[in-house]
Each structure stands twice: as C-alpha cells, then as structure tokens.
C-alpha cells in the first residue's frame, strides 16, 4: 500500500530581488521586483508502508521544501500530495498525530525550561496516556542516555544533548511516518552511529515509514535500500542504491604509489583525470572500458610501487550525477 504519494508536486517561491548598495535598497521600498524560484518542479514518487528511503540532493535542491509539503507546512503551487490518505495541508489532527518532522537545526523545545516540560506538554497535545508516556520516555531517555539532563533548562544543554531531546520530543507519540531532515547534523561520530541504529530499530519495530535526508552519505548507505535523488527541484533518480552505483559509475578509480618523484604529469593525465597528486600518491579516474589499458600503461611506463583499482565511492557517484546535471 502506498502510504505517501506525490504526483507532479510543484512549489514555487516568490523571492524579492535585491541588489546590493544603499541606493537600490531605497528604491526597493517603492518598486519591488520578484524572482520566482522553482524549489520543487513536478516531482512524483510513492512510498509504501515500512520503507526507509534516503532523500538526497545538494543544498537548495528542494529536499526540505518537499518534506515540508509532505507534512502540510507548505501549500503546493501545483500537483497532488497524499500522505496516509490525507491531504497534508488540511492538517487534520488525526493526520498530525501520525507524523513527525525532525530537523537538525530546529528547536521545538521551550528554551528556558527543562526538556521534561516540553515532553509533558507534548503528552497532552498528542493525548498520550500516562503509562504509555512513562514507558516511551523511559525507553528513549535510556537509549539516548539523557536521563540525567531531563530537568536541566534546555539552554544549558550541549548541542548533542539538545538534538537528542528534540528526537525524544517528536517520537513520544510514536509516529507512523517520520521525516528526518539531517538528524545527525553536528553530532559526533559515536552519537551519529547511535542515532542511526536507533532510526533503523524504530523502522523495524513499528513498521514506521521513514524518509531521511542527510549530508553524510554514510548515514544513507547504512540505512536505506532505496534512494531518491533530486537536484534543482527535479527528480534525478529513484531506485536501488547499489544499482545507482552500477548505472552511473562509468568510471573506476586507480590509486597509485610512485617509487620516485620524477613523474611525467602530462603523460599521466593522458590516462585519465588526475583527481589528486601529492607525491607519492596519485588518484586517477578512468573510464570503465579503459581501466585495463590504463593500468597496464601505468605499470609499464611509470615507476609504480603500488596500484589499486576501485569502484567509486557513493559520494563520488552522486557528485558525478550532480555535476553532469549542472552542465
């Protein structure tokens, strides 16, 4: 069953044009001109219950805008959105009780009060009964190791602790759909892994549907089988993560270690693109079909100590897709 369905979702923003300088600032008072920014441009996809989907794109690609349309914060310029059978923009209480949006940089906690106050308020807002509340709170605070910080005013918490509290605040009502926008931003490596594990557990335990955006490709790689890539508001790829690498990675990466410094860079660059060369290590990207020839050439005509051929990293594949699109 499709739990989320987008059809040709489009969202334009009107942005006031402003060129620098005092004079133009003054003239902008009288006549303002606007630019239309196509934040999301006819995107369609659907997601079934229990899926964990990675949502990827460079900054400003339209990821957050799409998520905001999915939870009813933004009114779509065109197209249709259906989440759990609801039109999100109507923001029916029954719909809102089943979703949560978590954003790495946002703050829903009451800044000057201890986090527990926000949690208790959410308990009332989501009409969670006392025993369920105690149970979830206990579970979440144990797992995220923030029990002792519950009664500290939020403004005194560290970034990591605050992020954990934010997570707890949006999970107490056990949403069926989670929209996670950069949930691990600003966290240390250990915490990132914890959150990651937690997301995966939550997905399995409650058959929750999760859409995740992250700049750390590692998060996505670990968690999501399916990814959706958007760029400049348009859908670029929707499908299996491993197949993406096969499809787009028409290059391989050759890493070589030279035995002495006397290298003819001009000749080296004929074999492929030199990604980096800091003696003694050079990294080349070479078209797939020419990999073998390039490797032979290297071994024969260059002072090679070590040579390594790999598939490109997922990061690189995605960078490749974006740079291709932008050309």
């Amino acid at each position: 069953m499709n739990i989320i369905r987008l059809s040709k979702l489009t969202k334009y923003f009107k942005v006031a044009k402003r060129s620098g300088g005092v004079i133009s600032s003054f003239s902008s008072i009288l006549n303002r001109s606007y630019d239309t920014v196509k934040a999301v441009d006819r995107i369609s996809f659907s997601i079934t219950e229990g899926e964990l989907v990675g949502f990827i794109g460079p900054n400003g690609a339209g990821k957050t805008t799409t998520l905001k349309c999915l939870c009813g914060l933004l009114y779509p310029t065109q197209g249709e959105v259906s989440v759990l059978g609801y039109n999100p923009f109507e923001r029916k209480p029954d719909f809102l009780k089943q979703i949560s949006l978590i954003m790495g940089q946002k703050n829903q906690l009451w800044w000057s009060l201890p986090a527990i106050e926000t949690f208790r308020l959410n308990k009332e807002i989501y009409e969670i009964n006392e025993s369920d509340f105690e149970k979830s709170l206990n579970e979440l605070t144990t797992l995220l190791e923030v029990k002792s910080a519950l009664s500290t005013p939020v403004r005194y918490l560290s970034l990591g602790q605050r992020m954990k509290m934010e997570l707890i605040a949006v999970l107490l009502h056990k949403p069926k759909i989670l929209f996670l926008d950069e949930p691990t931003i600003g966290l240390d490596v250990i915490m990132q892994k914890k959150i990651r594990d937690f997301i995966s557990q939550y997905n399995k335990k409650f058959r929750a549907t999760i859409i995740l955006t992250s700049h750390y490709m590692f998060d996505v790689q670990k968690l999501c089988r399916r990814i959706i890539i958007i760029d400049h508001g348009k859908l670029v790829y929707d499908g299996n993560l491993t197949r993406l690498v096969e499809k787009y990675a028409n290059r391989k990466i050759i890493t070589v270690i030279f035995s002495h410094e006397n290298i003819d860079e001009v000749n080296l660059s004929k074999l492929g693109t030199i990604k980096s060369y800091i003696h003694p290590k050079a990294v080349l990207t070479v078209p797939k079909a020419k990999t073998k020839a390039a490797a032979t050439e290297l071994l024969n005509n260059f002072p090679i100590e070590d040579l390594n051929i790999e598939e490109p990293e997922i990061d690189d594949v995605i960078r490749l897709i974006f740079s291709k699109k932008n050309k």
């Binding site: 923003f13 905001k68 939870c71 914060l73 009114y75 029954d94 979703i99 829903q108 009060l113 926000t118």
Partner: protein
C-alpha cells in the same frame, strides 16, 4: 482542553525564567499611568469639577486603568509575527493543536500574571497616596464593567492577531505595531477619558473599536453614562468582534498558503 491548560502552566513557568522582563514591563506601565495620575491631580488643585468629572472619579479612572490595562491591553499576540518570521509557527502547525487556542492560552497566562501584579501595585499605591477613591455601589454597573472588560479583551486579541498576521507578507511588523500602540493608547482613553473630546470627534470615535477597549469599561464603572450608549456600545463591540473574527480567518487562510516555513 487539558493541553491548553498545560500551555498556560508552561507559559507561566517561562515568565519566571525571565523575571526581569516582567518587572521592567510593569514598571513601564506604572510610570505611564502615574504620569497621567499626577497631572490630573495637579489640574484639580484649582477646580473641583472638570469636564463633568470630580476629582475622585478622575483619579479612580487612572487607578482602575491598572487593572483594565492588564486585562485588555496586555497581549502576547505580537509573538505571532515572530512565530511566522522565524518559522517557529511550523512547530505548532505540525502538532495536533489549534494555533489560535495556543495563542489564547499564552495570553491568558500573560494576563493572569499581570493582573496579580496590578492588584498588588494598586493596593500599594492606594495605601501610599490615599487618593479619593470612587467606589461604585450599583451592582449592575460592576457587572457591566466586568462584562465589558471581558469583551474588550477579545476585541483587542483579534486586533493584535491581525497586526501580527502582516508577518506573512512582510518581515517588518514592528513599525506598524509601534504606531498602532501609540494610537491605541490615545484613542482608547489611556491618557484621558474620551468624553472630554469635542463632541464631533467623540461621536466618530465611538464607531471605531478603540474607545471600547479602555474608556467604555471604565465609564461603566464610574457611572453617569447614558443608557443608549451602554446598549450601542455593547452592540458595536460585538459587531467589531464578528467582523474582525471573519477577517482573522480570511487573512490566516491566505497567509498559510504563502507561508514559507523559513528558518526551520
């Protein structure tokens, strides 16, 4: 409804985290009212009755202003503009919560605290200054007074919301609010009872919502008000509430469609 009670209690707790803010705010009100109070006190040195008010009624007008001001003109509705411009609104929109009831709860907490302060201030001022206080003995006048305050706070609540909803279209909501605040203080009768104005101006003013925020309730307490003004007054207030309520709904719906959830 339990959720809104909880919002009131959380809002109250928040005030105590910023005690200084509240104290300074109260100080501002005390100073502003006391200036008018002493001004009028001096004016009465030479004449016993001015514009049909004797000294006890005039000074009581300003003393009661403490209470009416706390109940009517104290409002947190300006925070709606902040909520919109900084994207905090998203937090509320995402939850099964009626945003306006949320704002109302925040206002109730605010008014509750301010009323307590103003009562304490009044007691202190009366015992220090020994002013000639006018006590209204007619119960009907007191009932009208209380009812009018209640309706007036709803009216001002709506006005505050509309001014803040400008935030959907402009980031600069502070300037119109500031001008409005000065205007409202003047037109509502914070500086003087409005019936001392020239008759023509006064009758035009009576068609606007402003006199009903401060002057009308106080006049009901002080008595000596024509019967026709009592009924027309309540009628005009309610008419404004219906009209503005309709406007709030319209503007809110329009605003949400262009809301960009910035900063979040």
């Amino acid at each position: 409804m339990k959720k809104y009670l909880k919002i009131i209690s959380v809002s109250l707790q928040e005030y105590f985290a910023y005690k200084m803010n509240l104290i300074i705010w109260r100080l501002r009100i005390i100073i502003s009212i006391m200036i008018s109070y002493f001004l009028w006190d001096t004016v009465y040195q030479s004449k016993p009755v001015i514009f049909g008010y004797d000294i006890s009624r005039m000074l009581t007008y300003f003393l009661l202003l403490f209470l009416v001001n706390s109940l009517v003109l104290n409002s947190q509705t300006f925070r709606i503009a902040e909520d919109i411009n900084f994207g905090y609104l998203s937090n509320y929109l995402l939850r099964p919560l009626n945003y306006f009831l949320f704002v109302l709860s925040r206002d109730i907490a605010d008014k509750f605290l301010n009323v307590i302060f103003s009562i304490v201030e009044l007691i202190i001022l009366i015992s220090l200054l020994h002013p000639p206080v006018f006590y209204q003995e007619n119960v009907l006048n007191i009932i009208f007074f209380i009812t009018a305050i209640f309706i007036a706070s709803i009216l001002y609540f709506e006005i505050g919301i509309i001014l803040s909803l400008i935030g959907f279209w402009s980031r600069e909501t502070w300037a119109p609010r500031f001008i409005f605040f000065i205007l409202v203080s003047f037109l509502a009768g914070v500086y003087f009872p409005l019936d001392i104005l020239p008759q023509g101006l006064y009758s035009v003013l009576k068609l606007t919502p402003f006199p009903y925020l401060i002057f009308f309730p106080l006049k009901l307490y002080l008595g000596g008000i024509e019967r026709t003004f009592i009924s027309s007054g309540f009628f005009i207030m309610i008419a404004w509430i219906i009209l503005l309520g309709f406007l709030v709904k319209k503007i809110w719906k329009k605003g949400l469609k262009i809301y960009t959830a910035e900063g979040l």
